[in-house]
C-alpha cells in the first residue's frame, strides 16, 4: 500500500520528472556543497554530506553561497550526475539560473517537510504540482 501526498507550488522552470527524492532541510550551494564531477554532497557537516544527487529529485529549502553555482549545476546536469528536478521552499536566483540553462524542471512554494529522502516523487513543474508516493 502507498500513501500519496499532493503538494501545490509554483512553476519555476517547466518540465516533468519522476524519481526518488533526496531531501534536506539545509540550504545548498551548487558551488561548494556539491561536486559536479560525481554529484556528491561535499559540504562539511551538511545534513546530506556524502549523499549523491544523481538522478534524484533534489528537495531543499533554497540555494545559498557562491554565484558559481549556476554553471556548476549546469555542468553536473550535462555530465549526467545532476538532479533530474528541483523542489524548493523559496527559489533563489543562482539555482534558478542554473535550472533555466539546464532545462531542469523546478518548482518552489512547496512544504518540503512533507517529503522524505527515498520517497517516489512525480514532479509536474508545468502545473506546479509535486506528488509524493510513500510505501506504508
Amino acid at each position: 500500500m502507498q500513501d500519496v501526498v499532493v503538494l501545490k507550488g509554483r512553476k519555476i522552470v517547466k518540465g516533468r520528472a519522476e524519481g526518488r527524492a533526496l531531501m534536506t532541510r539545509e540550504a545548498i550551494s551548487f558551488m561548494g556543497s556539491t561536486d559536479p564531477k560525481t554529484g556528491t554532497i561535499i559540504e562539511r557537516g551538511h545534513e546530506i554530506e556524502g549523499e549523491c544527487m544523481q538522478g534524484k529529485i533534489l528537495c531543499f529549502p533554497t540555494s545559498k553561497g557562491s554565484t558559481g553555482g549556476s554553471y556548476m549545476l549546469y555542468d553536473a546536469v550535462k555530465r549526467g550526475v545532476g538532479p533530474i528536478g528541483i523542489v524548493n521552499i523559496q527559489a533563489e536566483s543562482i539555482a534558478v539560473i542554473g535550472a533555466i540553462v539546464s532545462d531542469l524542471p523546478m518548482v518552489d512554494g512547496i512544504d518540503i517537510s512533507q517529503i522524505r529522502t527515498g520517497d517516489y516523487v512525480e514532479l509536474n513543474a508545468d502545473a506546479g504540482v509535486v506528488k509524493v508516493y510513500r510505501d506504508r
Partner: protein, 398 residues
Amino acid sequence: MQLTDEEHAMLAGEQGTLIQKSMEILVTLGEIYGATRMVEVTNVHSPGVSYRVAGDAGLDYVKEASGAGHFRVRTTLNTGGIDGFNWKEIGFPPDFVARQLELNTAYEDLGASPTYTCTPYLSGSIPQVGEHVAWGESSAIIFANSVLGARTNREGGPTALAAAVTGRVPAYGLHLDENRKANWLVRVNMKISSDRDFAVLGYFVGQTVGGGVPLFSGIHERPTLENYKALGAALASSGAVALYHVEGLTPEAPTKDAVLAQTYQTIDFGPIEYEAVVAKFSPAAPVNAVIFGCPHCSIEEMHRIAEALDGRRLHMDMWVCVSHPVYALAERSGYVRSIEDAGATILRDTCPILGATLDKGFKVVATNSGKLAHYMRGLWNVETSLLQFEDCIAVALQ
C-alpha cells in the same frame, strides 16, 4: 513583461541569436520573479570565470557566445582558476591550465576586462549609490549593494553574460526600493573590530537569515573597507545575503527607522554566538598552512602582511591571494619583496576556492576569512582554523 521597442527587437532576434537567447533567459527570469520591465545596467561583473566553476559545460557555453557577439557594457571578470603569471611555478596542472586559458580567451574576445578578481571594486569598478549593475561573485555583490549602495541581484554566470550582451536585467529584487529594506535586526552586543570578528558575525548571521536583509545595530566605530569585505563574504557564504545595512554607517541606513521594513525579526549576537562559530572552525590538529586574501587582499592588507613578515622567516606554507592591479601597487611599495623574502607565495588572479585544488600537503589551514574557512574544508578536504590575523602570522612564524 513590458519591453521597450529595442528590447522587443532583441527578443525577436533582430540583433542576432546571442542577444535573442540572452533576452529569452532574462525574460524567463523576470517572469519567475514578477518583473514588469527591464532595467538598464551600466556594468557587469561576471562570475563563472574559473574553469573549476564553469566546467566543460560552462566553457562550451561561453565559447559559443564568444563566437556570436560582443559585450555592450563594461564587464569585469571574476577570479579564475590559475595564477596567470606563475601557474607553472606554483604547480597548476597543465590540462586545467589549458582549459582555463581557453575560457579566458573566450571571455576576453567578448570584450571583458581581464581583472580576474573577486574585488572589482579594488580594480577600478566602483558603481555609485543607486546605480543599476549586474554582478556575480557573492562577496562582490554584497559589497556593491551594502557598502557602495549600488543595485544588483545575485547574478549567475549565464545571466551576467546575458546582461553583458544586452545591457539589461529584469527589474526585480534588489533593483527595487521596496526590497532593500531590512527584514532582520541584528543587535550586536559585543565589541567587534578585526576582520576575523566581522567574519564571525557574518557567518552567524548568514546561517540565521538565509536570503534576508539584515540591519546591524550596535556597531559604533566605522568599519574599515577590509572589515566590510570580511563581513559580506561570510554573510554570502553561510547564507545567500546580498545586502546588509549598518545603522548610521552604510549609505541606505542613516537611521534604524529609515531602513527597517514594517515587519522584521530580531536576533542577538554576543560572545556566546561568537564562540559557537569559532568552535566550528577550531580543529584539534596543528595548523600547517596559512592563507590570506579571501576576498582578494586590499593594498592595506598587503601592507599589513608585509610589515608582519618583514625580515622574518616562515616555518610553513603561506599563501597570499590578490588581484594583479593591487599586486602591481604592492610590488612598487616593496610589500611583495617583504612577503616573498619571508617564504610566502603570492597568488594572482586566483584563490584556493576558485582555483584548481593542488597537492600541497595542506591538512589544517589557518585563515582570518570566514568564506575561506567555510568553503576550503569541502573543496580541499582539509580542516580550517578561523584565527585572528595576528595569530595566523604567529602560528606561521613559530
